[in-house]
């Protein structure tokens, strides 16, 4: 089979796997690096015919998320599709290939004073395609929304090799179904994104970072206070945990004429909510706290993503306190705090802790997805949680897009 593929992509761009290509314990057979979208689709068409299981890969930073693959024959790497194809500053849009890293894209956009207002994990390695496929977002989501609200169009190679465009290149467009939203967050199970168009935002004229420390008891009040002055904050990130004081980082953006006043407003609110503002202007070293929640993991740690209605953070904190009193150790990062998205690390958790948290969260509409966990725990942990009543419909979508189930088989909700 390698020969056929080599014929399409060239012998230099097909190779055997190494340890670095293992996905959640599964070793694929080979790695292909097509150089054009149409080569991506030709490779897929062959895989589709032969029933080879394909794992699309960008920077590989989040390949461990989701269920372990049922099987994997081919890693389809998008690394060679890495160009920013078009930046139209006047229209505030950019079209970029899927394998371009977020950092490289931002660098290009910054030359014209613009940005993709998205700050996902590991921007230096994470690619546009991977960020869309996992719908990863960061603290800026509070002001600019998740990837689904920033993507205008995508080109996608479907499992059978169909290459289809959807959406458009303009910020406003309701012609046909909104397929970019279907693909965003689909974890590579419906098609391989080869290119995407985004709406952009201007880089802020001025930025201030503020850092506060909080005792555990005042986290809830602090969050409420920050929601009160939401117009003044571009992003807020809060770290808390059983073995640390809580730390909050606030990013203020605006006009040079207004930035000090905005920062002052945040300081006053924070102070009134019981935060220690004495070292507020210390350098904000820690926007990467989320990343560290994955990087300095103990082998026995489990990291999950939690979504809650935004005002329920106090509720969540009390749940966690209750767990702490049962000797469960945890750390968390409220990333897009006003939106209700956070990441939680549990140290040496029993599976029952995950189940218990999940059912409590469900009581107020929240959900929990396991992102990383100790080897061997995954099959047990029910990564995605309860699928809900739309699972059958999702299966039918998968069936339509990938009838032989060759794309990331088994990795998604309900074993899709």
């Amino acid at each position: 089979m390698q020969r056929e593929i080599a014929h399409i992509v060239g012998t230099d761009f097909i190779r055997h796997v190494s340890d670095a290509d293992v996905i959640d314990g599964v070793l694929p057979k080979f790695v292909v690096e097509p150089g054009t979208p149409s080569d991506v689709s030709r490779v897929l068409a062959i895989a589709h015919d032969r029933g080879w299981q394909v794992v699309p890969r960008g920077g590989g930073t989040k390949l461990g998320w989701g269920n372990s693959p049922r099987a994997a024959d081919v890693v389809l790497s998008l690394c060679r599709l890495d160009r920013v194809q078009e930046h139209a500053p006047g229209d505030m849009t950019a079209t970029v290939e899927a394998g371009c890293t977020i950092a490289a894209l931002q660098e290009t956009l910054a030359q014209r004073g613009q940005r993709l207002a998205l700050d996902p994990l590991w921007p230096g390695r994470a690619t546009v395609g991977g960020v869309l496929a996992t719908a990863d977002s960061g603290p800026l989501r509070w002001s600019f929304g998740p990837p689904r609200d920033l993507v205008l169009g995508v080109t996608v190679a479907l499992a059978d090799g169909t290459l289809a465009r959807s959406g458009g290149k303009v910020v406003k467009n309701v012609a046909g179904y909104d397929l970019p939203k279907l693909l965003t967050g689909s974890f590579g199970t419906l098609g391989v994104i080869t290119q995407a168009t985004f709406r952009l935002h201007p880089l802020p004229a001025a930025v201030r970072h503020l850092t506060f420390t909080l005792d555990a008891a005042s986290v809830g009040a602090f969050i409420a206070a920050m929601r009160e002055c939401s117009l003044a904050t571009a992003a807020v990130q809060i770290r808390a945990g059983t073995e640390m004081n809580a730390l909050a980082y606030v990013r203020v953006e605006g006009l040079p004429e207004a930035i000090e006043a905005k920062a002052e407003q945040v300081m006053q609110r924070a102070n009134a909510a019981g935060a220690d503002v004495s070292a507020a202007h210390a350098p904000a070293e820690d926007w990467s706290a989320r990343e560290r929640l994955f990087e300095d993991l103990e082998p026995t740690s489990l990291v999950c993503k939690i979504g809650i209605p935004p005002a329920e953070s106090q509720h969540l904190l009390s749940l966690l306190e209750r767990e702490a009193s049962q000797d469960v150790r945890w750390r968390l990062v409220f990333q897009a705090f006003g939106v209700g998205v956070l990441r939680l690390e549990l140290r040496e958790p029993e599976r029952s802790v995950v189940d218990r948290l999940r059912s409590r969260l469900a009581e107020f509409g929240g959900s929990l997805v396991v992102l990383a966990c100790p080897a061997g725990m995954k099959p047990d942990a029910n990564v995605w949680g309860e699928p809900g009543d739309a699972l059958e419909l999702m299966r039918r979508i998968k069936q339509q897009f990938d009838p032989h189930s060759i794309l990331n088989p088994g990795r998604f909700l309900g074993g899709i």
Binding site: T162, G307, V341
Partner: protein
């Protein structure tokens, strides 16, 4: 295609048992109201119109349709401008107007849960006392429903800054075409699975019927400032918009009107605009100190681009007057022309002058006037092609011109529609914008949701005209004649 007359009689008998006799309309004079939506030149008389009052009834009706293979069309207020709610021959219309309860107002979580028949403006009215608003604000907001907004992914002047309907719909309950009920998304962000809520919004009633909608509401900004600037040409006004955006300013709204639409608006609502070739309306909102600086910047940019007058609204009344003329623009066209066609194409903003010049040329060539009203900030044009139906052949030429304008938009890299939807009106233009594999990929979604094509068939996707449609003259929507748009 839709079962025999006999099955339809049985179906209606079953629906009568379910809803009661008065909620099933079959008499011709009752059906007339429902034979078209805001696109009045397409008409089809439905077999019946049914008026359920809750989601269970909707579910039961759809189950019965599914049993008998009878197509159905959901309908909100019927203000759609692309024929989305046009009945299908032999099918029934399911009106959602009676599902009009606001089910939950959750201020701390910034959510409102509504039934689909709730009127858009009622949501904002409900939450205004708490300092919130529902951001998507179509000009028809005092009459159109949230269900219709969801189906069309409705926009409005303030969507430039705040995003379209899809940005503000977090969860849906949907009755699928087999009568099953599914929950998509919810109050909390990032529920597991595909973003089917995002797919449903904008699907124009073809993927099922929304029976419950969870909306995000937005905190009112500290201050709002509205201004108008008068220019000698649309080019100059367009240049001003480009420079505003290039300066990194994101206005809450940026709207443009040309001389013809200004004349009409002035005649209709006496907005008191300056006499000019092109008017730019800009709204800025946010934190007080910041807005003050931005207003000064925008004024300066406008002057630099040749604005000979700028006016800042000094009171809510003045602000309302500025908006009134803009929001009444479609309705006002009746003052300057007996008939007109509204289009909704989108272009990259930087193509504005080129496209307007081309439209002007096309207008000269055909001898038909074109008025321009548009959401300048996001490149969404609403060219209004004016004509007189009584003059032999003019209507046909007007339709042709409107179509050519749409194709022009697509050629510049834009879209056939920014907010009104494809419906029946533009379905045959879809191949201008999408290649066959693109459309086939959308069909895969359709098939997954609705394998038998019972939910609003014949919309969105290109196909030959149905024989029961009586193509007829464009007529002003009753709401326009009644001047509803002037309420703003």
């Amino acid at each position: 295609m839709s079962g025999s007359r006999h099955t339809r009689t049985l179906l209606l008998a079953d629906i009568r048992t379910l809803l009661g006799e008065p909620s099933v309309l079959v008499r011709p004079e009752q059906l007339r109201t429902y034979e078209c939506d805001g696109l009045t030149n397409f008409r089809v008389v439905p077999t019946a119109v049914v008026l359920p009052t809750n989601a269970e009834q909707v579910q039961e009706i759809v189950r019965l349709c599914h049993r008998d293979g009878v197509p159905f069309v959901s309908r909100g207020s019927g203000t759609g401008l692309s024929g989305g709610a046009l009945p299908v021959e032999g099918g029934i219309v399911i009106s959602l107007a009676r599902l009009n309860r606001i089910l939950e107002v959750d201020i701390p979580n910034e959510r409102v849960v509504v039934e689909p028949g709730v009127i858009n403006l009622h949501v904002t009215q409900k939450v205004a006392p708490y300092g919130y608003f529902y951001a998507p604000d179509p000009s028809s907001q005092s009459v159109c429903t949230i269900g219709g907004n969801v189906a069309e992914n409705a926009g409005g002047a303030h969507c430039l800054k705040y995003g379209f309907t899809t940005t503000h719909v977090l969860g849906l309950e949907v009755v699928l075409s087999d009568g099953s009920l599914v929950t998509l998304g919810g109050k909390a962000p990032d529920t597991s699975g595909y973003d089917l809520c995002g797919v449903f919004v904008g699907s124009e009633g073809t993927l099922g019927i929304a029976t419950k909608v969870t909306l995000r509401i937005v905190r009112r900004p500290e201050v709002v400032q509205t201004m108008v600037a008068a220019f000698h040409s649309t080019d100059a006004a367009g240049e001003a918009v480009s420079r505003i955006i290039a300066a990194g300013i994101v206005p809450a709204a940026a709207e443009m009107m040309d001389r013809l639409s200004l004349q009409a608006a002035e005649a209709a609502v006496h907005a008191g605009y300056p006499n000019c070739e092109c008017l730019l309306l800009v709204e800025l909102d946010g934190v007080a100190i910041e807005v003050e600086v931005l207003v000064a910047q925008v004024k300066e940019i406008c002057s630099a681009c040749g604005a000979f007058e700028t006016r800042l609204a000094r009171s809510d009344a003045e602000r309302a007057a500025m908006w009134k003329g803009r929001k009444a623009a479609f309705a006002a066209m009746g003052r300057v022309s007996p008939n007109y066609i509204v289009q909704d194409g989108v272009i990259p903003r930087t193509a504005l002058s080129a496209v307007l010049r081309e439209i002007e040329r096309m207008s000269r060539d055909t001898g038909l006037r074109v008025a321009n009203v548009f959401h300048a900030g996001d490149g969404n044009l609403h060219p209004l092609v004016l004509y007189d139906r009584r003059i032999e052949g003019q209507e046909h030429r007007a339709e042709h011109l409107a179509a050519e304008i749409l194709k022009l938009c697509v050629r510049t890299g834009g879209s056939l529609t920014g907010e009104h939807g494809i419906g029946v009106e533009k379905r045959d233009f879809m191949p201008e914008m999408f290649a066959e594999p693109d459309l086939a990929t959308m069909q895969r979604v359709r098939i997954a949701f609705d394998p038998q094509s019972l939910s609003n068939p014949g919309k969105v996707f290109p196909r030959p005209r149905l024989c029961a449609e009586r193509p007829g003259p464009y007529e002003p929507h009753p709401l326009e004649t009644a001047g509803v748009a002037e309420l703003f």
